[in-house]
């Protein structure tokens, strides 16, 4: 059985950027990437690649195609899925995408994916750590009219059928649907594998296929943002922390307890 998986991957600002290095461009209402901290592949997208590669491990005749939409791709960053073991990569890199909104992203991704013939499964991250939208995957499944299985912690593929364990707060739900389908994953699917030396060598020889809007029959006028960002600000913290300091750490612990009692917190 040959099996075609599309994985949607986004390049994002490193979420481990310290809060202190976080700055906003008020004219463009955008986040200024911190100096010297390169972008990364969104964490859950790496989990999505891992999920695809696990399937490839069990179904050898599997092709994993990674798709990403954006601008200013850093090749060393965005090619990581290839060095992990993905087969192909498609990048839609168009200057019009500078301030890409999730509704347009959904439209473009759906259009690119529907041009990949015979896809069996789309795997997405559960959410992207930049704008925390967490709805592009649901948008793709609605646009392509295919089943949407969320928050998979385990994926099982049978001919023409997918079963997942979907994480809920106090356990899991076993969900099943026909293929093609779309699945979202989070870190619960398992740690992304490290690129091997061989993988890195192979990836260095692969060139991502680059598409612009003309290649995918999308016109700027087709895109409708649906929402407008009116304000972007750093969060304000209104708490002032009182630090209890005793003679030593043990004493401080005791003082903390007394303070909480005195303030009627406990």
């Amino acid at each position: 059985m040959s099996f075609n998986i599309v994985v949607c991957v986004k390049q994002v600002v490193d979420p481990d950027t310290p809060s202190a290095a976080f700055n906003i461009n008020q004219d463009k209402l955008s986040v200024i990437p911190a100096d010297g901290i390169p972008p990364v592949v969104n964490g859950y997208c790496e989990n999505a690649v891992e999920a695809a590669l696990k399937i490839k491990d069990s179904i050898p005749d599997t092709t994993v195609t990674v798709v990403s939409i954006g601008t200013n791709f850093i090749m060393d960053v965005i090619k990581k899925p290839l060095s992990m073991g993905a087969d192909k990569m498609i990048l839609v890199d168009d200057p019009n995408l500078e301030s890409l909104d999730p509704f347009s992203t959904t439209k473009i991704l759906s259009s690119v994916i529907s041009k990949i013939s015979d896809y069996d499964l789309i795997i997405c991250g559960q959410h992207a750590s930049d704008w925390d939208n967490a709805h592009v995957p649901m948008g793709i499944s609605e646009t392509l009219n295919i089943p949407c299985l969320n928050s998979a912690r385990e994926i099982d593929i049978k001919p023409n059928e997918i079963t997942i364990k979907s994480s809920i707060p106090d356990g899991y739900i076993t969900l099943k649907s026909s293929l093609p389908a779309l699945v979202t994953v989070s870190n619960e699917i398992g740690e992304p594998r490290y690129p091997t030396l061989k993988g890195i060598m192979q990836a260095s020889r692969k060139t991502p296929e680059k598409l612009s809007f003309e290649n995918i029959d999308i016109k700027i006028s087709d895109l409708s943002p649906k929402m407008t960002l009116v304000d972007l600000a750093l969060p304000v913290s209104n708490s002032k922390c009182e630090i209890l300091e005793g003679e030593d750490d043990a004493d401080s612990g005791k003082l903390l307890a007394l303070k909480l009692r005195e303030s009627k917190i406990i």
Binding site: D132, T228, A233, P235, A250, L256, A257
Partner: protein, 330 residues
């Protein structure tokens, strides 16, 4: 009439706690716009729940029923909401950022080709356009964004759990309860629910605990969590964890608190060896008091905590626990 439609979730035959939160948010919008709050609920609940929705602030209750809805099939919910929207043409749809709500909200928005804002912590009406302005943390909480919708019909808002307080129950409120007859296309139900497996650990649920003691990577391994449990037990509270802890396998993912874990708002949230990354704080900022034990005076957690100790938890925690035990005895 363009109403505010609220998806009231149920749990074990009763209203889920988020139903009241959604109605409170819906009321805020409806009172400004001069329209009504309509709650949609499945019929697999105690009859009193319908009235409760009205007492919490709803004007109308629409009851829907289908075996797949009772099972929690998201496809069924999306199809039902689609049909309801065709009938009543709401201005706003509100769901909660629960497992169900965050998926249903996003799906119905795309089904209706509308906009959707995930994880909102506040909503208000823009005086000029009469459309909703949604406030939502972005970049894991490192920034806060406000968005307006470019179109009505409907504006879909997915509300962060515990970001609104339910209104007081008002038993004098009146409203209508209507069973809706809706037929949906069975082909639209593509998901099959095979089984739901609860893995709930014994003890009090994190979401219900008045006191939570949460541990982070600073604890260095799984064993210290026994000490956190000891402290939590004094308060009849519960133990939570950061994602770093769950990813390391020290605790199960069910204990994870944060943006992608559970959202909690206890009276007291005590963190031990947690740095206070914005993604973690997203799950506990609603707590009345945040207390921190961390050996790094510059750790982010001290920005959000009201009391803390800068020190090694191995020394601080035992004496803190002992003192708490003594104080609560007397």
């Amino acid at each position: 009439m363009s109403d505010i439609l609220v998806l009231a979730e149920t749990e074990n035959n009763y209203l889920h706690s988020t139903a009241g939160e959604l109605i409170a948010a819906g009321r805020k919008l409806a009172d400004e716009l001069g329209n009504q709050v309509c709650a949609v609920i499945t019929d697999d609940v105690d009859e009193s729940s319908f009235k409760n929705l009205i007492h919490l602030g709803a004007d109308k209750v629409y009851v829907i029923s289908h075996a797949e809805l009772s099972k929690g099939n998201i496809d069924a919910f999306v199809s039902y909401l689609e049909q309801i929207c065709i009938q009543i043409n709401p201005n706003v749809i509100l769901t909660s950022r629960t497992y169900m709500g965050r998926n249903i909200g996003a799906r119905i928005a795309y089904r209706l080709e509308s906009g959707v804002a995930q994880d909102c912590i506040d909503v208000e009406i823009d005086k000029n356009s009469s459309r909703v302005i949604a406030t939502r943390p972005v970049y894991g909480g490192n920034a806060v964004a406000r968005f307006t919708f470019n179109q009505d019909d409907p504006q879909v808002i997915i509300l962060r759990v515990k970001s609104f307080d339910s209104n007081e129950i008002d038993t004098t409120r009146n409203g209508s309860i209507e069973k809706l007859n809706i037929s949906i296309d069975n082909d639209a139900i593509k998901l099959k629910l095979i089984e739901t497996v609860k893995e709930e650990s014994e003890g009090i649920r994190l979401e219900d605990a008045p006191v939570i003691v949460a541990g982070g990577r600073g604890l260095g391994g799984p064993e210290p969590f026994k000490q956190l449990e000891e402290l939590a037990n004094i308060f009849d509270g519960a133990v939570g964890a950061s994602r770093a802890v769950c990813d390391a396998g020290w605790m199960d993912h069910a204990f994870q608190i944060g943006l992608t874990g559970k959202q909690v708002a206890p009276d007291v949230y005590i963190t031990v060896g947690i740095s206070g990354a914005s993604q973690h704080m997203a799950g506990c900022l609603g707590s009345r008091n945040i207390i921190a034990i961390n050996n790094d005076a510059d750790a982010n957690i001290f920005k959000d905590a009201s009391y803390g100790v800068v020190g090694d938890w191995e020394k601080v925690l035992p004496s803190f626990t002992e003192a708490v035990r003594d104080l609560l005895k007397s």
